[in-house]
Point group: none
Chain length 219, copies 4
DNA sequence: TATGAATGAGCATTCATTCAT
DNA sequence: CATGAATGAATGCTCATTCAT
């Protein structure tokens, strides 16, 4: 099982009000994450969540006005945590300051970092991927984060690398797609599609980085 | 909208009994595909499907015993069509007979072919990806097709290429993951995440192939 | 199993139009009797009857306008056959002509005769008893037969016996109730409640007659 | 109408948990009893019951998981109450302690007692008789009560009377059948088949007892 | 704050009946 | 005559949400 304490931290830290969660709220969130991940939002019932959380049905609605608000309270802090903070802190250093192996170093940090995060929050990852398609609220939140924060920083970095002749000539959007496909493809296979295989995580991370690096290297 | 006639063909051809669908069945399938793709299986109601199909609700259940059977009747022929037939016909020729650029040629055929298929069946693709997680029946069907048909043939081809010194040293499973991540990452971005962007499909296909080719080439 | 041919005869002979049943009609009746007896009228579906009868659903409604008409076509001829004909033929002879042991003789003939009939038509008996409560049509038909035919003849016989000092002083209605309770109690136990016990029918019939005879004898 | 308060007591006292019923539950039970008795279980709809009970349909299912559970909650306490307690308390005293007219005394108590009970619970009696045939759960419950409690005690009493030379030579099972046929035949006629006749209950009870007594007396 | 009984709209499914073939 | 696809009202049951305690 994923360590739930870490997951709660994830959810806590980005709660809008930054308020500590009450014990009941924690129980509700834990139960909701497990059940949403297992059966999907639409097939989960609030009564089942209440039962698993050892809480009365009404209690859920005291903390979250609707079932959907409960979902959003789970997903958006995770999305922000999963995408944003990494870029905020690492892009500058890795790519701009340390010169030659900038991309590889960036990728390694990115992958290892997100890998750990996904490992600790696999059910949340599952929920995000499964529910994004159906909830415009989530898509908007994601686009906001992605288009306004990640993509521009990513592009800046890529342009920088291109100038140094380190990158294949390819539109930034395509490069970003390749990288994300490879990273997400790995994480999804590792934690969602086949979590029970005997994974040699270190090696697979290396392979993935090698693959991307060669795939994108200047010819 | 995707050309529904082609989609119906897709569904028809692989129906076990190879029987032509009645007009009402076609209407039901069309409506179900659209609605399932839009809101997801669990959030779609049979009454909505019936209304969109201009059919009485009872009529759905005359043709499909349950709502789930309707889903399966939609998804499994698609899954078979999407994965199986290509490999059956192309692997041998492309990889084993034509010597040097075997992999590239294979990838190009694979991608173009699946691209067209995904283009014609985007909503079906969406449904498969969205529902696989929740329906063991679908997973089983997929595993059957993937583990027993695709994976072995894929491996055989990769081993052949490795012997010829054309491939990076990496476990087959990892290579296959890289390739599929890149291909599916492209198709999903193209048809599901951002279908409304101005895509230059030819170029993107080329980029994707280049990326994979360089990523996997013998160093 | 009960001999269905005899049951069909039962149903045929009293059909209002006295017309022979077509083979399809026979199949439908046979199936309907079995299913009504097993699950009750309200829980039986015409589609199940059609399936068991190897007949299209529509065919049932060609012969019987509604499901209820099918029930009535099954029950009323049976009811008539079960109650009426015996009395018509036997009362006079047994009771009025043969002097001393009139009642016993009558009871013996009554019981043996109805016993055979019930044996051959156990499912029909079951249906009548189960459905009478819910269908006023059946009740009316029964009352007609019972109040207008059976009761008066029964009373006449009882009065005759009373005059001869052979019968306990008790209202006719009560006497008739005792007799019918005993007879029906036997038949219901024998064929409906516990048909699988090892019954010694001859003996049980004798016991039942003895019981009634002593119960009603002049003190 | 039967006095519903007494019926509720009947249902309450034997509820496993011996808990008082909430007012809504009472309304539901009252409505269900009336409707089941009138149209039979299979032809009664939960929406009709809810309407008659002045309760939302969902409320029924909060208290009784399924429609069938509602039926069982109605029938089994009644069955237990109807059969068991009497025998527990009376057999010993009546038959074994008071010597000569043991059987008559027993029958009188039995009949009067069950008569009052049936009078107060006529609709329940109706439901039991009508539904027993279709619900194995009810049959099992009945057999348990009858075979394990009533029949043995009955037999013991009959053997005791036989030893004293008070009883006709007849298998116990047959004797029991005669008695029950007569008693049930009376109650069913009185409360179900023809409740609207002008019954002189005292007299009819006496007749019935006389009938049984003479029918079973040592010759 | 927490509870859980109550609600009623909504759901998948069944079914008697009709009707074009 | 016989068929069986089509119907749509009705059914048992679920569930998010409310609210009195």
């Amino acid at each position: 099982m994923t360590d739930f304490k870490k997951m709660v931290e994830t959810l806590e830290q980005t709660t809008e009000k930054d308020r500590k969660l009450t014990p009941k709220q924690e129980q509700i969130l834990k139960a909701a994450v497990e059940i949403f991940a297992e059966k999907g939002y639409a097939s989960s019932s609030t009564s089942e969540i209440a039962a698993k959380a050892n809480v009365a049905e009404g209690t859920i609605f005291r903390h979250y006005k609707t079932k959907k608000e409960l979902l959003i309270s789970i997903v958006t802090p995770f999305m922000t945590k999963f995408t944003l903070p990494f870029f905020a802190s690492h892009f500058a250093k890795e790519v701009f300051e340390e010169p030659p192996e900038g991309l590889e170093s960036l990728l390694r940090t990115l992958l290892k970092n997100r890998f750990e995060f996904a490992k600790e929050n696999a059910p949340l990852l599952r929920i995000v991927i499964q529910e994004m398609a159906f909830h415009p609220e989530l898509q908007e939140n994601f686009q906001e984060v992605f288009l306004e924060e990640i993509f521009p920083k990513f592009e800046e970095a890529l342009n920088h690398l291109k100038e140094k002749g380190k990158l294949v000539e390819m539109p930034n959007a395509s490069i970003i797609r390749m990288i994300i496909s490879s990273v997400v493809g790995f994480l999804v296979t590792r934690f969602i599609i086949a979590p029970d295989l005997n994974w040699e995580d270190e090696k697979e991370i290396d392979y993935t980085i090698d693959f991307i690096m060669h795939g994108l290297a200047q010819k």
